[in-house]
């Protein structure tokens, strides 16, 4: 195998055969090393949340990732390919150019696809909570495990977790920042987050006219997860019930929440 091993001969056969073998070995090793190094670098640069989200995003079904411009009726069937990171999306930029000048007032709340809402505060921080739809899917039985004050959350990383029994689902963090305050169940589970460098960029979050069609889309998605014979139990007095999964036997809290909160 090596020139110093007894019996080794330098001839064409040996050179070609072992040359190919060592090339293959080097390619395999390099490939694995590249994956390891990239992973380590992602951790060193604190990008592992983004990378982790990218990996999960690939596993989402098409129905879970409609483009915001489709939701707003600005385009036909289109599915997001950028992990909801609209600033990386050429299509989004093009659509912005078209819509330029039409921008109205900044809305009160922005929505992340993982059902977290974001409300900018006057002091430059934001408040983050789970939207009504998400809250009803998770239900009042679940308990939230919020990050401690001083922790950092990362956009598309884990914002916080909901626990019910042995199961847990995470809520995707809509922005990157440091937690400065939080509120418990009575205040409706919220985080107050201050930006790390520079003001928050909320361009990737849904706003204004996009929100309603998105919610309708999400409702349709939820209904698909729920057996037809339960559909009538989901509303009471024209309003959606507070604990969706509790109203239908055999429905898995874990599965429904994960699907709606985009955790494949």
């Amino acid at each position: 195998m090596f020139p110093w091993v007894y019996g080794f001969e330098w001839n064409a056969g040996t050179v070609i055969f072992l040359g190919l073998f060592f090339t293959v070995v080097i390619v395999i090793l390099t490939t694995v090393t590249v994956a390891v190094v990239r992973s380590l670098r992602a951790f060193a640069q604190r990008k592992h949340h983004a990378v982790g989200w990218e990996a999960q995003f690939e596993d989402l079904g098409r129905e879970a990732r409609p483009c915001r411009h489709q939701l707003a009726g600005e385009t036909d069937q289109r599915y997001c390919r950028h992990g909801f990171e609209c600033k990386d999306c050429d299509f989004h930029r093009k659509m912005l150019d078209v819509a330029e000048g039409e921008a109205g007032d900044a809305p009160d709340r922005y929505f992340h696809r993982g059902h977290a809402w974001v409300r900018p505060e006057t002091d430059g921080t934001v408040t983050i909570g789970i939207d009504d739809f998400g809250a009803k899917v998770v239900g009042p039985r679940a308990r939230a495990k919020l990050p401690r004050i001083g922790r950092r959350i990362h956009e598309n990383g884990t914002g916080w977790r909901f626990l019910l029994g042995d199961d847990s689902v995470r809520v995707l963090a809509p922005v990157t920042g440091e937690v400065v305050a939080h509120g418990g169940r009575d205040e409706g589970w919220y985080l107050r987050v201050k930006p790390l460098d520079g003001p928050f960029d909320l361009g990737h979050l849904l706003q204004g006219p996009e929100v309603r069609p998105w919610m309708e889309h999400e409702m349709a998605r939820l209904l698909r997860l729920i057996p037809k014979d339960c559909h009538s139990d989901l509303t009471r007095d024209g309003r959606m019930v507070d604990d969706v999964t509790a109203h239908c036997s055999g429905l898995d809290w874990d599965v429904v929440c994960a699907e709606i909160l985009l955790e494949p």
Binding site: M1, F17, A35, V36, H48, V51, G52, E54, Q56
Partner: protein, 410 residues
């Protein structure tokens, strides 16, 4: 009980039922391990192989298993290199099957050789002119590649993916997977080929000796093509079986059809080349070695029939089914054709390994046959049981068929 590690959104049988399904395979594995122990502890006289039948059932089964495992390399090649995106639906399953087939073959080989502890000699003192050296190197490298390809499937398990490092590593590994798919294709190409060459180079065995292109006999190429044809068929078959056993829709019909069509195209090339090769062998190769081809079949009408079966029943017929659009639309026909194709591979490998050894070369030697002992059979069953266990566990705890969730919802 194990609900928290089953992929989200997939429905799996209760744990008790699953364990009951595993039980017979565990028992079979135990029996196989005992057989292998007997061979390793007391020597290969536990088998019915002998000095004339020096390669027995194991080599035949190894060749078959590896040919069927070709689904892994070929699906990877079609998906990552030729960008047949629809095959993404079966690539995970293909990798697991490839891994099972190759690791199983290596385990059996280690029982099959007389001095397994000297296996590293082949690496340390390789005779680069031997097809077996090529087989050994390729099988080892490719098993490594398959193990690396298997890793992301494991790491994406619901519990494991919660560890951020695993998810990130899985993602980065997946990004460079096309390199491994390329390497795997290269290795598997030579590996399937060298398994064919293993017999084709034997100028002492006129029944299998084939003329060479360059340094490779024709069987080198026929093996690659037949494995490439059988690989997708075997994927089709295993997916269908998994679907039947689990009672779930795993892939869309388009995927089945696509696998069938690919199998059909390659099969048509194979049937053509195999026929040409056989005719050339009858006309030129065998007579040049001083043997009239008819003498091989003089006392064995059964073997003659096998040859015809291989090309006609197991080659031409499935090819025709696969390439007929109307039949391809029916899953039943696709499964039938895939079964025939896989049987064709089995027959081909059987004829090549067992019949070659049965036929004498010396004028006073006898035609021999042999029946494997229960220890040999047990060792092979060990691989089947091992494969069933690994596949069942992978199927339950990993997302082998990405379309399954969507098909369930939609």
């Amino acid at each position: 009980m194990d609900r928290s590690i089953i992929p989200r959104g997939l429905e799996r049988a209760p744990l008790g039922k699953f364990l009951l399904w595993l039980l017979p395979w565990v028992l079979l594995l135990g029996f196989g391990l005992y057989s292998a122990y007997l061979c390793l502890r007391y020597g290969l006289h536990q088998t019915n192989m002998d000095n004339r039948f020096a390669f027995g059932a194991w080599i035949f089964l190894d060749l078959t298993v590896i040919a069927l495992g070709a689904g892994a390399f070929f699906t990877g090649f079609l998906l990552y290199i030729l960008k047949r995106r629809e095959l993404k639906a079966v690539i995970n399953s293909a990798v697991v099957i490839g891994f099972i087939c190759y690791s199983g073959a290596v385990v059996v080989l280690m029982v099959d050789v007389g001095q397994p502890l000297r296996a590293w000699f082949t690496f340390w003192h390789p005779n680069v002119h031997s097809m077996l050296t090529e087989v050994t190197f390729c099988i080892t490298c490719y098993l490594t590649v398959l193990a690396i390809e298997y890793l992301p499937i494991l790491l994406k398990n619901r519990k494991l993916r919660q560890i951020p490092a695993f998810l990130v590593f899985e993602f980065n590994l997946h990004k460079v997977m096309y390199v491994l798919a390329g390497v795997g294709t290269f290795l598997s190409f030579f590996h399937q080929g060298s398994l064919g060459g293993l017999y084709g180079v034997l100028n002492g065995r006129p029944f299998v000796f084939r003329e060479a292109f360059g340094i490779w006999p024709t069987t080198f190429f026929l093996f690659i093509i037949s494995a490439a044809a059988a690989g997708p068929s075997f994927m089709l078959l295993t997916t269908w079986i998994a679907s039947k056993v689990s009672g779930k829709r795993l892939v869309t019909h388009y995927v089945y059809e696509s696998l069938g069509r690919i199998s059909g195209y390659i099969l048509s090339g194979y049937v053509l080349l195999k026929t040409a090769d056989t005719l050339f062998w009858i006309r030129d190769t065998a007579p040049s070695l001083g043997v009239h081809p008819a003498s091989f079949f003089a006392n064995q009408p059964g073997y003659t029939a096998l040859h015809l079966l291989e090309v006609a029943l197991f080659g031409f017929l499935p090819m025709a089914i696969f390439l007929t659009k109307r039949l391809r639309a029916r899953l039943g026909w696709l499964v039938t054709a895939a079964t025939l194709t896989c049987l064709g591979i089995v027959v081909n490998r059987y004829v090549l390994t067992i019949q070659t050894l049965a036929l004498p070369t010396l004028p006073f030697a006898e035609v021999l046959s042999y029946v494997p002992s229960w220890q040999e059979t047990g060792t092979f069953l060990m691989v089947i049981a091992y494969g069933m266990l690994v596949y069942s566990i992978s199927f339950r705890y990993s997302n082998l068929f990405p379309q399954e969730r969507e098909l369930r919802q939609g």
